[in-house]
């Protein structure tokens, strides 16, 4: 069986090409529209600069652009997924300044100077992050769509436990939380998996937590 990497046209390249074509198509339309002054003001792109996976990126974006859309459409980092686009599914989870957030519920222009880590920044196929490797080992996915969000969330969850942040299921608020299956499941409840790979996801996270502590 040929390896997918040998294909000349990848899905990612097709997506990136599609984005560029769409952008070209939009320009004449917007020029033809008569606009009020307030519309012109908002359509003027706002400049924003932040660090993504260790690289400084400067963008000009429409104010309405979410961080998720900026990552996917402007920077072609399509690893971060758009599921519900309303903060309910967690597929868009990224790590900003060390904490996990839903990138669909925040505007790109609000991230001036921030440090953003996406799934691409955690690890690459030739050098997987331990959490990525554990998801592969434990079969922590089926269709894979929620996986980048699950992995970013899981990495941040272990940091949150190390930082002593309690959860809804922590019995004693005054002591440092311990990683149990119940803690893990509570803390991962913002990441939905339609395929129901939850038990394998929990095993993958527990594996990483066990080997790093």
């Amino acid at each position: 069986m040929p390896k997918p990497v040998k294909l000349e046209v990848s899905r990612r390249h097709l997506l990136a090409a599609g984005t560029a074509t769409a952008m070209v198509g939009v320009v004449p339309g917007t020029k033809a529209q008569p606009q009020s002054s307030s519309q012109r003001l908002s359509q003027r792109p706002t400049g924003v600069a932040f660090e993504v996976n260790g690289k400084l990126r400067s963008l000009q974006v429409d104010n309405r652009t979410t961080l998720l859309d900026a990552l996917r459409e402007n920077l072609s980092l399509t690893g971060t997924k758009k599921g519900c686009d309303h903060g309910q599914c967690g597929a868009c989870t990224v790590i900003v300044n060390g904490v996990r957030i839903n990138s669909c519920l925040t505007l790109a222009v609000m991230h001036e100077g921030d440090r953003i880590t996406t799934i691409e920044g955690l690890g690459q196929p030739e050098q997987l992050h331990p959490m990525q490797a554990a998801f592969v080992k434990h079969d922590g996915y089926q269709c894979g769509y929620c996986t980048p969000g699950q992995i970013c969330s899981a990495v941040a969850v272990l940091d949150e436990i190390k930082a002593g942040i309690p959860s809804h299921v922590s019995h004693d608020l005054t002591v440092a939380p311990v990683l149990t299956n119940a803690e893990l499941r509570e803390r991962m409840s913002g990441n939905i998996c339609r395929c129901g790979a939850y038990s394998n996801i929990a095993e993958a996270i527990a594996d990483v937590a066990g080997s790093s502590t």
């Binding site: 903060g87 989870t93 505007l107 930082a163 002593g164 309690p166 409840s189």
Partner: protein, 317 residues
Amino acid sequence: MKEFTYERATSPQEAAAKARETLGAKFIAGGTNLLDLMKLEIETPQHLIDVNGLGLDKIENTQNGGLRIGALVRNTTLAADMRVRKDYGVLSRALLAGASGQLRNKATTAGNLLQRTRCPYFYDTNQPCNKRNPGSGCAAIEGFSRQLGVIGTSKACIATNPSDMAVAMRALDAEVETVDEMGRTRKIPIAEFHRLPGDSPHIETTLADGELITAVTLPRPVGGIHVYRKVRDRASYAFALVSVAAVVQRDGSGRVAVGGVAHKPWRVEDAEADLPKGPKSFSARLLADAKPTTDNAFKIPLVERTVAAALNDARQQ
């Protein structure tokens, strides 16, 4: 999403002035509720004032032994603060019972107080809703009202306030600090911060136009056992059908506020005299004027049972 202009505020007073003088302006902090509603075009601000850079993100001890929580302190940070965990456990518990880890990392203290109802008819733009479109009517009253309010409701609206945090703050007698466009500050007791719907359910708080929340203060700790009990349709990441924030003293006296039943956290101080007599007589006084629908009449006994469970938790700690 409708178009809007955007600016980053440089001082609380300037932000308040800008909000007051700019047509259709709104503050944005965490944005987790506002952007959700903007995507659905339920909220259509013409101008956003980003208040994240205002430095209102500290938790400080007050001179009288309480805590002053900056408006921009994130829900996770507040829940994890050791002073809150030790002396105001009900607040940590309430915060941790709400939303998801990702949302708590972004959502702010002031934003949590200002979040809108999750009434399904408020969210469905094909339906009439007096909150979303004043004067259009209420589809919820004759509709599917299982999640909605049972007390303090009106003919115009039966929506509930969805916050867990606010229920704990009501039990703790928090105060909301604000600044206006002239730089004048005031403190609003949490009991007076959220309004009942009456005939203007679109006006949800007693904040004036442009008035900006700068902090929430907690009085000195009251001791006691702190419990937050939340009943919901799944074990995590769901809004409350009923929630109970309780601070119970050794002699059986205490304070109890209830969420999921009204347009604001529901607390009746007079009823608390009945707490030592047990949950039945307390709940009967707390919900004396309740007018549930057929769909949500179950919330009346559910409040009593959740209060009973909370008092039982307190006894066992």
